[in-house]
């Protein structure tokens, strides 16, 4: 990467023997290969074990398609909401001083420090049949837990911090001088946000959205607790993979898993592209 190249020292940083150096690099690569690359390869190998036709059949099977639709729907709701929330929270935290600011920052981090299972459980405790709001919801015929709304809520909770976490340091570093300059030039609050603040953080924002999306589509723990595992109705892709696997339907399980893996790979490629883009912007400054 550009940063590495620009820091390449004229003299090596260490004077270790080449043997030691290659040993360390080899060790790191072996570790990566064993624990990351090999499992990833295994997913695709297993998925294609029965041939391409079996793979395709598993992917277009109605329950699998339903799981994909649900996953896309959940991400489609959770990501935009967390985008809006993250942007507003980061803007407030980075650009203004107010009481309770540090409390808000730790609150944003909460989903990262809580086990995903617990994240799901709190919604069961809150909205479940025996939960706090359960009787009222039942009386009004509103289903949240073991239905799509519960899955959406759990996903939102788990993917809450991604966008805000990405933006807060970026916005803090940029300060508020450009916004003040825009105000002196007659811009309204909305104009300042749209024309100055937003363009300045757009790469960071995209990056946060990307990570948020990857997690929203891949979340298992929290969603598993609130889903109820109803085939074709409340199964997201990760849950569907688990069900298929438990039924010893390995080819189908790995076929759907391979789609999730592809999503992960795509995310990585986009992330690298964004980082490259952001670094380019940095140099332009």
């Amino acid at each position: 990467m550009a940063t590495l190249a620009s820091f390449a020292p004229a003299r090596p940083a260490t004077t270790d023997q080449p043997l030691v150096r290659w040993l360390l690099i080899g060790l790191a690569l072996a570790f990566l290969g064993l624990f990351l690359l090999l499992p990833l390869l295994a997913v695709f190998v297993e998925a294609l074990r029965g041939g391409v036709m079996a793979y395709l059949a598993a992917v277009v099977e109605p329950d699998a398609l339903a799981a994909m639709r649900l996953t896309l729907l959940v991400a489609g709701i959770a990501v935009p909401l967390n985008l809006a929330f993250g942007l507003v929270a980061a803007w407030a935290i980075a650009k203004f001083e107010f009481a309770g600011k540090s409390f808000l920052i730790s609150l944003i981090d909460l989903p990262f420090s809580v086990s995903p299972v617990l994240s799901g459980l709190i919604y069961v405790l809150l909205f479940g049949a025996h939960g706090l709001l359960g009787p009222w919801l039942a009386a009004h015929d509103i289903k949240i837990v073991f239905a799509v709304p519960g899955i959406v809520l759990a996903t939102i909770f788990v993917t809450f911090p991604f966008v805000a976490r990405e933006l807060i340091p970026l916005m803090q570093e940029q300060g508020t001088e450009e916004e003040q300059a825009a105000r002196m030039l007659g811009a309204s609050g909305w104009q300042i946000f749209r024309r100055i603040t937003l363009p300045n953080v757009k790469w960071g924002l995209l990056y946060g959205v990307l990570l948020c999306n990857a997690r929203a589509m891949g979340e298992f723990g929290a969603v598993s607790v609130v889903s109820g595992h109803i085939r074709g109705l409340t199964n997201t892709m990760p849950l569907h993979v688990e069900i298929l696997y438990n039924e010893y339907n390995f080819i189908a399980a790995f076929a759907v898993a391979s789609l999730l893996s592809l999503l992960a790979l795509l995310t990585l490629v986009l992330k690298a592209a964004l980082e490259w883009r952001a670094a380019g912007g940095e140099q332009r400054r």
Partner: protein, 372 residues
């Protein structure tokens, strides 16, 4: 447009940034707010701009109280210390910004915006760089973009916060001359903040010297330099020697020597005499009505010589400055006995001076440094 400030106060917690400031800036004038850091000059500028709000006091533009007006409606051009250029916009778009964000009804058509921006870029001599981004410009170029951007909204007042602070010495000198010429051409009421006395004296019509949230003196550069109104101004502008003395019946007695020049009326008893290093007349030997001193050391600063003089009865050496020709003529050397006469000096009663001493201790007085 004239700017009038009455009784402005501003506190940040227990810290008083402004402690009752009155100032009247006439239409078309060029004012410098000069003072050490923490003297409240930037706070004053930001309150005029509407970026900060006073605890009490009034700001009037052409007689109209602007307290209720948001910064965006004040039509004030503001050049930030670090320019605050929009990093994601080209030079052209930076300058066009103020025109593009106007409400639809007041927004000029695209062709007019283009013409106006090009005109401004020509004014700041940056036509060829319209397509560049702020990151691709030098400090001096950025400063001029910031200025063109501030001028685009046809401001009624131009405010500049440490406009040359982030530039190197050569660029600073060029830009200073250029800004002075620009002001003469546009005739726009302008105020700038600086801690550099040379900058203030060279650029401004009127210099406002500030210290600890208060105005010490307002006046033309020459008047400020030649007749400092307070000990602080004496020590902050150009630097000065501070000599304890006694005034009795209009006669100044300095270390037992009676000066030939009488004391100004109204000062009696213990006092401090302030004299600039270049306002001392040195004569080898001794003389009536002059102080006896010994030359301790000599340093050249290029065009002039700086001498440390030892005065019996004074703990710190006295500083004198002589032009090269004068120094050569007198043939001075360390350990030479000389007679000392202050040509021009300021006299302040002792009870007025301690406050200045505290201020001077917090911020050592700046000396005139050539080509800093």
């Amino acid at each position: 447009m004239s700017v009038e400030i009455r009784g402005l106060t501003k506190r940040f917690g227990s810290y008083t940034a402004l402690g009752g400031v009155d100032l009247a800036v006439e239409d078309g004038a060029f004012y410098a707010l000069l003072g050490p850091s923490g003297s409240g000059k930037t706070t004053l500028l930001r309150i005029i701009a509407g970026l900060d709000f006073p605890d009490a006091g009034v700001v009037r533009f052409a007689g109209e109280d602007v307290q209720g007006r948001d910064a965006r409606d004040r039509q004030v051009g503001f050049v930030f210390q670090h320019y605050a250029l929009f990093r994601h916009l080209s030079v052209f778009e930076n300058v066009a910004f103020g025109l593009r964000v106007r409400p639809r009804a007041a927004r000029p058509p695209a062709a007019e915006i283009k013409a106006r921006v090009e005109e401004l870029l020509a004014l700041v001599q940056l036509e060829s760089l319209a397509g560049r981004y702020p990151g691709q410009l030098s400090g001096g170029q950025r400063q001029r973009v910031a200025l063109a951007r501030a001028l685009a909204i046809e401001p009624r007042v131009l405010l500049l916060d440490e406009p040359f602070g982030a530039l190197d010495a050569k660029v600073r000198k060029e830009l200073r001359r250029w800004l002075r010429a620009l002001h003469q051409r546009l005739g726009l009421t302008s105020m700038f903040v600086t801690h550099d006395q040379e900058e203030a004296l060279e650029l401004a019509d009127q210099v406002v010297v500030m210290n600890q949230g208060r105005i010490e003196q307002i006046g033309a550069p020459r008047a400020i330099y030649e007749q400092p109104a307070t000990p602080f101004v004496y020590e902050f502008l150009g630097g000065a020697n501070r000599l304890p003395c006694l005034v009795q019946g209009g006669v100044i007695e300095l270390f037992g020597t009676r000066l030939a020049r009488p004391a100004p009326a109204g000062i009696e008893g213990p006092a401090f005499l302030f004299v600039r290093p270049q306002d001392l007349t040195l004569v080898p030997g001794g003389g009536q009505g002059s102080l006896a001193a010994t030359i301790e050391s000599v340093v050249t600063t290029g065009p002039s010589y700086r001498l440390d003089l030892r005065l019996p009865g004074l703990a710190v050496p006295l500083e004198a400055e002589l032009p090269q020709a004068e120094f050569d003529r007198l043939q001075l050397a360390p350990r030479t006995q000389i007679a000392l006469t202050p040509r021009r000096f300021g006299l302040f009663a002792a009870e007025d001076a301690p406050a200045a001493a505290a201020a001077a201790a917090a911020e050592p007085p700046l000396r005139l440094v050539v080509g800093e």
